[in-house]
Amino acid sequence: METESAAVFVLAEKMEREIQPVSLQLIGKARQLADELGANVGVVLLGQDLTNDAQKLIAAGADLVLKADSKSLVPYQSELYTEIILKLMVERRPEILLIGSTFMGRELAPLIAARLETGLTAHCIELVIGGEGVLEQRIPAYGGMITIVCPEKRPQMATVANGVFPNPVLNPARSGEVISIEVPRNLPQRIQTIEIIREKLEGVSLETASVIVAGGAGAGDQEGWDQIEELAGILNAGFGSTRPAVDAGWTELETMIGQSGRMVNPDLYIGVGLSGELQHMVGIVGAKIMIAINKDAKSPVFEKVDYGVVEDCRVFVPALVKRLKNTESYAGKVAHVI
């Protein structure tokens, strides 16, 4: 069939018994792209105990699920996964392969792309079918959006972070084909994941926080950074960061908001000591009120917010924290009396 040769594939991922949300989001997106191309949506899922998962992937929009269900696939093993996926891609020759920007996806995507000698675009925020059916992959950079294409090589590959595309509406009545894939044995295992360790429970989750405070290079040093963190704590806000703050070593990469980090959807956002780089700003989806604190009145961040405070955050934030603490202790006393 025609559709066999033109497919949009998604590499899905199951973690701790759940299909990752980004996998479902990408299947939803793949469905939309495939409909435009008149193509099928294929999904590859590797893991263990996958009996009930294929139907969910189909409900999200998949026509075909290729699953490899084996004890040897948990935890994630990069060499084994690469070989299995590579073989499927060579057989199926899809037009497009989308991969979630999870830790696994970010490692596997380049391993697969290099072996297939094709291009790979990192952390896209928009995917559009352009002229001649070529996938236009957009990333934010340098004050705008850069469109990247992979005109000759196939598949056209892109990674996408969780939250960039909406969760698809699941349709349990959809039907699709499920094919079980043999897991090769005795592959050379030069790399072996011994175990995956869950280290921390998240504080206020960035993805679900209704208030987000994000800090940037303007914090100046760890002390300045800790002040912003204190502000976030008082506001019971999720505390996010920009890449310069991560690079400076004040915070973990996991707190970075933006194209290659977390996507957030707060009601209110406060950007402190940051310049409103697009790579960061695209991570803030649909905030109703946006506030920026920056000492430079000409900072581009002031073009992207509703309220601006032109002050050095190292002066302003402690003053604001002090004021809020007073309010809080007052409110606390009242509550106590009542």
């Binding site: 970010r106 380049p110 340098y142 000759e152 208030v211 002031f302 405070v309």
Partner: protein, 265 residues
């Protein structure tokens, strides 16, 4: 003795880079006239190599692909303690995407000498893909572990490392030779010392082009890149800012009022 390769990228000074505009002809970023610094994550890759050298003895070769001024970054790495620098520089290399960059670097690494471990930063601050390390590994037919935050056991040729993973980390056993991409949690890079700078004067930096590497120009630079930048669209702002005026205290009060109206405090 370990043979270690560290791949470093000279990146435009971020404060200047923010003002960069894409070159409409080459469809890549003009980097020639912007002050270059070492990609911050690559300095952690170098520090990892330096620590191994101190512990076991090692020969460290720096590979960097970039325009001739990137040689200064290589020189800096030598001053920090690396032994040899190779700058891959050729007009034909310009406009390379991650694939063509990794291919060129891998060809050079292969040509140089046997290698036990290749360290790369997990991403670059300008291109912001994370693909070069794993793609180098592919072209060298070596295994790779990405986003390594700790080397737990580095004795012999079977190592154990910790690598970032959702909500924690994964413990990975790897067999050398291998490629490792590092996060900034791995170590704290040391600053340049005056004696290091003096010693670096006598160290060798070679410049290699595509002829030296014996690879055709079709496989490098823009021509060898599967991905192309086709378009750059500036984005207009969508919000009209109200600047909060007044003294520091007045600004604080006004902001508290805004937060209060929004139901935050």
């Amino acid at each position: 003795m370990l043979n270690i390769v560290v791949c470093v990228k000279a990146v435009p000074e971020p404060n200047v880079a923010n003002k960069l505009k894409i070159d409409p002809v080459t469809k890549s970023l003009p980097r020639q006239d912007i002050p270059l610094v070492i990609n911050p994550l690559d300095s952690h890759a170098l520090e990892a190599a330096l620590q191994l050298k101190k512990k076991y003895g090692a020969h460290i070769t720096i590979f960097s692909m970039g325009p001739p001024p990137a040689g200064n970054i290589v020189r800096e790495c030598l001053a920090l303690g690396a032994d040899k620098g190779i700058l891959l520089t050729d007009p034909a290399f310009a406009g390379a995407d991650a694939f063509a960059t990794a291919y060129t670097l891998a060809k050079a690494i292969e040509k140089n000498r046997a290698v036990d471990v290749v360290f790369c930063g997990m991403a670059s601050s300008d291109g912001a893909t994370e693909w070069v390390g794993p793609e180098i590994a592919t072209f060298l037919n070596m295994p790779v572990v990405t986003m390594v935050r700790e080397i737990v056991d580095d004795q012999g040729d079977e190592w154990i490392v910790k690598a970032d993973y959702e909500h924690g980390y994964r413990m990975v056993k790897l067999k050398l030779p291998a490629v490792i991409t590092v996060t900034r949690d791995l170590n704290r890079p040391k600053p340049l010392s005056f004696s290091g700078i003096l010693k670096a004067r006598n160290k060798e930096i070679s410049e290699w082009n595509h002829e030296k590497l014996k690879i055709p120009t079709e496989l490098v630079g823009l021509k060898g890149s599967p991905t192309k930048v086709t378009e750059m669209t500036p984005l207009e702002s969508r919000r009209n800012v109200k600047l909060i005026e007044g003294s520091l205290q007045e600004k604080v009060e006004r902001l508290v009022q805004i937060l209060s109206e929004a139901g935050v405090v």
